[in-house]
Symmetry: none
Subunit: 142 residues, 4 copies
């Protein structure tokens, strides 16, 4: 299985942030997790709130642990709240089921990690993350 190197994760964060600047988004904070849900790299934008780590992590963690994008998790959270609430608790209360959790897939289509992006609207967060994943040569699912 392909793994995300620190260099690739750093590139993904830089490209996500650059997308945000180009499109006039609010400052973005970004995390990259490996296939097991463990952090590879994180960067919090200057002058943003202390919860940015928890939000970015929660978006990415839910995605990689479930193998579902933030968009899919968000739909599920609305349709089956009793499942997502229970899942979140079972996973230690760290899932944030909203857009901005972006699956990262390798050339064979397998999930190799996830990004979590936070700072602007959830939709814009997801779009920025998508750009970041593509910049590193991987396939995003937002």
């Amino acid at each position: 299985m392909t793994t995300i190197t620190l260099e690739a994760a750093t590139q993904m964060i830089a490209a996500t942030t650059a997308y945000g600047v180009e499109h006039g988004l609010k400052p973005l904070s970004v995390i990259v997790l490996d296939a097991g849900g463990h952090p590879i790299a994180f960067a919090r934008a200057n002058d943003t709130s202390p919860a940015r780590y928890a939000i970015a992590h929660g978006k990415a963690y839910g995605a990689v642990m479930m193998g579902m994008s933030g968009t899919t998790l968000n739909t599920m959270a609305k349709e089956r709240p009793e499942f997502i609430t229970a899942l979140n608790t079972a996973l230690g209360g760290t899932v944030v089921p909203v857009q901005g959790g972006v699956l990262v897939k390798g050339a064979d289509g397998k999930v190799i990690g996830a990004m979590g992006v936070t700072g602007d609207t959830s939709e814009n967060d997801a779009d920025a993350g998508q750009a970041g994943v593509i910049a590193a040569g991987f396939t995003p699912e937002i």
Copy 2:
């Protein structure tokens, strides 16, 4: 009291998985718990997400700890969310009250354990688990 042996648990998992293959379901991950809610056996399907253990466990654990099937717990979670949320917290946050939690009963009708099945829709998970329990000579309640 009849107990579920490791051999029976292994058979239940194999039959559940086989049901999934026969019916074209997505790959299923399956756990078998004893009457005290403790794991006997678990198998995660290849290339499925890391949360599969937590979900399978949560479905089975809720069933055996409450003596209620996943279907019953899911109905209760929708009708009395304040109770299921509190129950979940009291049980350490490990209950996933959805279909796919299958009670396993012995010849005298007593609960001797539970299966948790996850991978396809919750309804299909429950049907597959039902087939697995029957294959081992026990009585399921889905």
Copy 3:
């Protein structure tokens, strides 16, 4: 990176158990975790205590999360208890730093998962696990 399939994990558990029978050990319970510390397969021996899952998991989880064998973790726990106690707490209290946590390495020497074995003395647990890892064509570190 090589990954451990369910078939390989099942083979590792069977070979570990067979080693125990051949050498007259007490019944062994065995777990196999992936590189991210998530369960692939578990089997609890008949008529063993409910904590077997927690012990097997804790041995394997400490090994894979730290990239160290149970033997190394056990030495560290004796020499630097303040570190291992804190590490254990930081990892959710699920590390059991004793022998029987066996690293599983692929052909390139990278850690691809871990086994946790429990039931006999910790030394014998580790030897049995070593045999199980080798049987599946991987390289153990006990």
Copy 4:
């Protein structure tokens, strides 16, 4: 109050890592926390174990939350284990009281954050972190 910008945190991580390379240390993983104990930036070295985030975070978090370096906390953990254990519990179980937690001070001597470094011996981790803090123009306390 002086704050650590993302640019400064990134520089601190790069200089810490470079120190490790120059001195032949094992690959280092590094976190930078702000004065409130919240992550600014993190980087995990390639092919290091999943627990690196938890360890780096725990070293830095203990330092900044107590206003004490990892060396001081480690001495305290040995002399007054009942206090550090209780403190750790009170802080959510995330303090790792060993060397490699480095206080970051501004020109007026006030604590503005902390670094957590992990990968080699704790002493070497601390020395590398010291170099990283100095490189960014701040004053370290190891």
